[in-house]
Amino acid sequence: MNTFKYIFGFVVILILQLLCSEFINLWPILYIAVIPLLVILLPPDISTYLLMLSGFAVGLLTDALSDGILGLNAACCTLLAASRNLITRPMRRYDIQTEEMDLNYGEFRPGKLVTLLLASYLVFFIPYVLIDGPMGKGVLYLSLRIILNVAVNVVIAYLLVRLWIRRFF
């Protein structure tokens, strides 16, 4: 049942991402990315190998089905998947019943959720902007673009998680 739930979530987030890529072109320098949410919200106990492969697959599918640079989303999602455990390690709590470190996104307070999203989107957007940015642009331009993309996407991701995804996952 859980597997079906995640496959369904995978498809929904992918479609949402394709719709964003196709119709929400707010600004040439702003990219609305929903797919990092899939990498972030996959079960905490999933192996890093599977996480990286899922990130790679969802990123590559997005690249292939949208009008972007093939491999760009895949590279960033794989990096995010590889570093997810590192990001979430300080957020885990000790579960007395299972006697293991547990991570439950549903119990996250707003501050903790924003921190998680902020760290994840930074990991996603730093390589994204560096690879995607036009040639000859300075550090200031790249930094502003990273900050803008992270800020806007964290707000959107926070709303999505609070309003819909948290209930689903």
Binding site: Y49, M52, L70, G71, L72, A74, A75, T78, L79, D132
Partner: protein, 289 residues
């Protein structure tokens, strides 16, 4: 020694991550020109860093040879100096010193190198094992090195700069089948084209030499000065033998003076009049179109 499972696991994760990222990078490079050039720029920066370091190590280990060359050069200059002193003493005794000095000042003895500027560069990479050899030198556009400049050493001609980046330049070696330079046999006639045939790195061929040119073993081959790359009369090699090609020209086998396997530093030559010469040559080319 057995490694703990945690380390095996970490290595495994890193390898999978590296493989996936490599696939992504490959896709990006193949599908986007801008990203491709950016990645290649990064690769070249890393490459040149390693070349620079390996060249520094090679130069350090070759210091004994460099020192030997310097001692030989020093001995040759000392000998030349002694000869000149002897010559000056002799003409002073004959009372001709003032006359010759005024002749030199008047331009009779002007150096063939007037109108050229020189930049010393370190060789970072030097290939010898292909038929299209090249060098990378540590001077680029920031140092005034641009495309189409000649490269020499005190021993002879090395090649021509065919591409210049901000910090490094690509030199097409004389040991490259696509390279040819205008040269002459002796200081007089005997013009021809010096080309490498892809064989020994110590031999090249002076082709298209007129049949009436006398060739003797040991004759020095110099740059002709007919191109804007090199000044005239830079020694390139010594004639070894010749044969007649198609009954029309002589093809002279030349032993190169430059030992390409031992290149540490080179001199980039800029012909200050090159732009003017090239623009005049372009007029002729426009008539040919």
């Amino acid at each position: 020694m057995k490694l703990p499972p945690l380390i095996y696991n970490s290595i495994g994760k890193f390898l999978v991550f590296a493989a996936l990222e490599a696939v992504c990078l490959l896709l990006i490079v193949r599908n986007s020109t801008v990203q491709s050039s950016r990645v290649m720029e990064g690769v070249r920066t890393v490459q040149s860093f390693f070349w620079e370091k390996s060249a520094a190590i090679k130069n350090y280990t070759a210091l004994r040879g460099t020192n030997k060359d310097l001692v030989e050069e020093n001995a040759r200059l000392t000998q030349q100096n002694a000869r000149l002193r002897e010559y000056i003493t002799r003409i002073q005794g004959e009372g001709k010193l003032d006359e010759i000095s005024s002749q030199i000042r008047g331009g009779v003895g002007d150096s063939a190198l007037t109108g050229y500027s020189f930049t010393l560069a370190k060789v970072i990479k030097n290939t010898l094992n292909t038929t299209h050899n090249y060098l990378i030198i540590d001077k680029g556009e920031r140092d005034g090195v641009t495309e189409d400049l000649g490269v020499i050493t005190p021993s002879g001609v090395v090649g021509i700069v065919r591409g210049a980046g901000p910090r490094f330049s690509y030199v097409m070696s004389l040991l490259n089948l696509r390279q040819s330079i205008s040269a002459k046999l002796g200081r007089g006639a005997g013009l021809g084209t010096l080309k490498w045939d892809g064989g020994s790195i110590r031999k090249a061929y002076l082709t298209e030499v007129a049949l009436n040119t006398e060739v003797q073993k040991g004759d020095t081959v110099f740059t002709s000065g007919n191109s804007s790359f090199f000044p005239p009369d830079i020694p390139v090699g010594k004639a070894l033998s010749y044969n007649i090609e198609d009954g029309m020209y002589k093809k002279v086998e030349v032993e190169l003076l430059q030992d390409f396997s031992n290149l540490d530093y080179v001199i980039v030559i800029r012909n200050e009049d090159k732009r003017e010469i090239d623009s005049l040559s372009a007029i002729n080319n426009s008539y040919l179109k």
